[in-house]
């Protein structure tokens, strides 16, 4: 098939995100957003089968580094959480832990069908069906699984959104924390808690909305307790000891 193959990246009017009193903000914020969009770290966490298309994406053939994007192994340094495909309930906990540890502004990309409506595991008792019930998603990439080209396109889309200040889903997590926490509790049970103090951070970012606090956060406050370092019980008595 001949003809122009360039898939256009939509550009958008800059939306007024934050009320800033600083007169330089008008100049400064866009500049910051621009810089931010040019250097992103991708959390190295293969959550599902879509992950198998990431190595090609980050290595020579599709070379995502051209976009200034690089894999990063620790959540704290990472900007982008790439949820690659289906999310098992067990994995979702780890995803949330990683996500909450990431520093704002942080961005979530959901790829594959599974993150949208359960994908081909819609029948499965072990996977969650809609990612955006548990954490806000910035960009979705369709496919099962999407090719590296599609992933690149999605990342460019995200960069564009960051540049134009539209990629603000992370704020939603603070604004409507109660909603997300509620869904998490529904799935993991009432005793679900994470080490991160989201409410405190919401205050810090000035994102404490009406829906940040609610019955679910109240429940969280009731049950919260110091997290213990797991020791006993992890290694069952039968497991191997060192041969001499």
């Amino acid at each position: 098939m001949k003809g122009n193959k360039v898939i256009p990246i939509e550009t958008h009017e800059r939306v007024p995100a934050r009320q800033r009193t600083n007169p330089w903000a008008k100049v400064f914020d866009p500049f910051m957003d621009f810089c931010r969009s040019r250097s992103l770290f991708l959390l190295h966490y293969c959550t599902g089968c879509g992950a198998v298309e990431l190595p090609p994406t980050v290595t020579s053939r599709f070379d995502v580094e051209r976009l200034g994007i690089q894999p990063m192994v620790t959540p704290r340094q990472a900007d982008i959480l790439l949820v690659t495909g289906y999310v098992a309930t067990k994995t979702l906990k780890r995803i949330l832990l990683s996500y909450e540890q990431m520093q704002a502004p942080k961005y979530v990309i959901g790829i594959c069908s599974c993150t949208v409506n359960g994908g081909m595991y819609w029948q499965s008792y072990a996977t969650v069906k809609k990612l955006n019930e548990y954490l806000p998603v910035d960009v979705y990439i369709a496919g099962c699984m999407p090719r590296p080209e599609a992933v690149l396109h999605g990342l460019q889309q995200l960069m564009e959104d960051i540049k134009t200040g539209r990629a603000n889903a992370w704020q939603d997590y603070f604004n409507r924390y109660d909603h997300y926490l509620g869904n998490q509790q529904a799935l993991f049970g009432d005793r679900w808690q994470t080490p991160t103090d989201i409410i405190g951070e919401a205050r810090h970012y000035g994102l404490l909305g009406e829906q940040t606090l609610g019955e679910h956060t109240a429940l969280l406050e009731r049950i919260k307790q110091p997290l213990e370092v797991p020791t006993a019980g992890v290694f069952s008595p039968h497991s191997e000891t060192r041969e001499t």
């Binding site: 979530v108 990439i141 690149l152």
Partner: protein, 612 residues
């Protein structure tokens, strides 16, 4: 195999090798231009709306339940043609691009394109639910990827061949020429069905063919019979001579030969023994008696179906039949090589076993008067067929050697003899014409050892009335079938015998208003030598028994009794159904029968004695 030395080797100069890579072609692909998908790439769906018939097969095969059928009012919706105005919509939050929907698509309208990029923002997820059209997801056609191909097609396009007699053997007798499927063949044929249900919507009786076909390939024949009797007590008849609109609608028929729905019905009936069929048919018959009595005139499909339903509902039904045997036109209008009378008797036996009484050789107006019935019964149903043949009224058609097809068929059935012509010409292009021609052909073969019959039809082959298979088989049997011939004269010799039939070319049959007004081209004339001409241009009902007074009172519509959609006439106690109101067709007659039965039943249950 070149083994790698299992020791560390190498030199400090090795890194210099890196320079040699500078000459090589870069492996990194350009950023701005995503590659084309491969030839068979499985990208986003495209769907040709012209071809798509909304058969829902894609939805059935989808293992992720990703496909929703969406009703689109602007599209044509015609059950008889086998077209629904539904189109598949794909949920890309479910789809896994396996392409099975493409491979089972009976029409080949659905395909996967080479387009593979779609991204959206968190709040734009609606873009994941799309209604594929020919243009592709972003209104740009990237070319077909995984489309229909003979390799990957999972639809079995070819019908299992039906074993039948060779033409020469056929002509020897009136034995049934179609043998019917063997168990294995039937199973394979049944397994072709994609359960789309288009046949169900096209069938006048709305018989749930997908259901009984499924039962057949599951090997549960009794269930199949049960499913069939839900909607049709004349199953072994319809299993043979039904006009099978279902097969016209069948989605497999779009590209291949439709599933042999009719033969499968026949198979089920043939392979379940008669007693079991009776037992199954009787299921759901309430023990109680309503005390109401219904008289039915004519033991044809329409009449007996009504009787069947009413009997099941506990009414007392008496059927008056002028002839000596039941079946009406199916017996006296359809030759035995297509419908063995033994089968017919079985079907009727099932019905009488429900307590329906049939009075044979009782002609209304002669043996019993209609007034009598009106007195004795709560409701009376006229379910007579069309026993009178129409005449072309061309010069010479009053000659005794010009016969009506329907009369001949009746005589053949009853075993009456008549002078078999050496050469015959048939006027008419319907199934009756074919039946008559082929019956006479058999007689000719018996008497003279050769067939010489010409069928001349008004219609051209594009608009032919008879079932193509019939024409085909007639030809096989040595009958000459001519299209677009209009009869102008039956030429009579001085001695009163027939010489020939003269026909001319037909230019058009109907005028602008759609009225019957054939135009001829007199220059193109043909002579068909024949010592008998058979007129097979349609029949009409003989309603003389109604009597003057009643005929006056009843409302009429173009010479036909005027009835409501359920067959009730303007007289509260009188119904009419079947051929007499809707023209000749078995399956329609059955459908009418059901409707009328319901109407009568509701009426009876609603009130005490209708006629007081």
């Amino acid at each position: 195999m070149s083994d790698v030395a299992y020791k560390s080797k190498g030199s400090v100069l090795n890194p210099l090798k890196a320079f040699s890579f500078m000459g090589r072609k870069a492996v990194t692909l350009p950023l701005d231009e995503p590659r084309d998908g491969a030839e068979y790439y499985r990208g986003f769906h495209v769907n040709d709306w012209e071809k798509c018939i909304g058969c829902r097969s894609c939805q059935k095969i989808c293992d992720n339940q990703a496909i929703t059928m969406v009703k689109i009012p602007s599209l044509p919706d015609d059950p008889v043609k086998g077209v629904r105005n539904e189109r598949p919509a794909i949920d890309y939050g479910r789809c896994c691009w396996c392409g099975l929907c493409v491979d089972v698509c009976p029409t080949g309208s659905l395909a996967l394109s080479r387009e593979y990029i779609h991204t959206c923002r968190g709040d734009e997820l609606d873009s994941y639910f799309i209604l594929p059209d020919p243009n592709g997801m972003h209104d740009k056609h990237y070319g077909f990827g995984w489309a229909k191909s003979p390799d990957s097609d999972l639809v079995d396009l070819n019908r299992r061949p039906m074993p039948e007699m060779a033409p020469q053997k056929r002509l020897q007798s009136f034995d049934e020429m179609v043998h019917g499927y063997s168990g294995q063949e039937a199973l394979l044929e049944a397994s072709r069905c994609v359960q789309c249900g288009l046949c169900l919507e096209s069938c006048p009786t709305h018989m749930d063919a997908p259901n009984y076909i499924r039962s057949i390939w599951e090997g549960n024949l009794e269930q199949a019979v049960r499913d069939i009797y839900q909607s049709n007590p004349f199953s072994s008849i319809c299993g043979r001579v039904c006009t099978h609109r279902c097969e016209t609608a069948c989605s497999i028929g779009r590209r291949g030969t439709p599933v042999a729905i009719r033969w499968l019905k026949r198979f089920a009936l043939d392979h379940v023994d008669h007693e079991t069929v009776k037992r199954i048919a009787a299921e759901g018959k309430g023990g109680y008696l309503s005390g109401h009595k219904v008289a039915i005139i004519g033991a044809g499909p329409a009449g007996l179906t009504t009787a069947f339903d009413l009997a099941k509902k506990g009414h007392e039904v008496v059927v008056y039949e002028a002839m000596e045997k039941p079946g009406g036109m199916t017996r006296y209008g359809i030759p035995e090589y297509r419908l063995p009378y033994a089968r017919l008797d079985e079907d009727v036996d099932v019905i009488t076993s429900l307590g329906v009484k049939i009075r044979y050789n009782t002609r209304i107006g002669k043996d019993v008067t209609l007034q009598q019935l009106e007195q004795d019964y709560d409701a009376v149903l006229i379910a007579i067929g069309m026993q009178l043949g129409r005449s072309t009224r061309v010069p010479g058609s009053d000659n005794p050697h010009v016969r009506k097809a329907i009369d001949l068929l009746r005589m053949i059935t009853r075993g009456e003899t008549f002078p078999v012509p050496r050469r015959a010409a048939v006027i008419g292009g319907g199934n009756v014409a074919m039946d008559t021609a082929r019956s006479v052909a058999r007689l000719q073969m018996k008497k003279y050892g050769k067939v010489d019959i010409t069928v001349t039809a008004l219609e051209d082959f594009d608009h032919f009335l008879a079932d193509p298979v019939e024409v085909e088989e007639a030809r096989e049997e040595g009958i000459e079938v001519l299209d677009a011939r209009g009869p102008v004269e039956c030429v009579i010799r001085e001695d009163g015998t027939l010489e020939c039939l003269r026909t001319v070319k037909v230019i058009s049959i109907f005028d602008e208003q759609g009225r019957f007004a054939p135009k001829y081209d007199d220059s193109d004339e043909q002579i068909h030598p024949a010592d008998m001409v058979i007129e097979a241009i349609g029949q009409m009902a003989d309603l003389s028994f109604l009597g003057e007074a009643l005929t006056e009172r009843l409302e009429w519509n173009r010479g036909r009794l005027k009835v409501d959609e359920n067959g009730r006439t303007s007289e509260p106690w009188l119904w009419a159904t079947g051929d007499v109101v809707h023209g000749p067709d078995v399956v329609h007659a059955v459908a009418d029968g059901h409707r009328t039965a319901n109407s009568i039943d509701t009426c009876l249950c609603g009130m005490e004695k209708v006629t007081q």
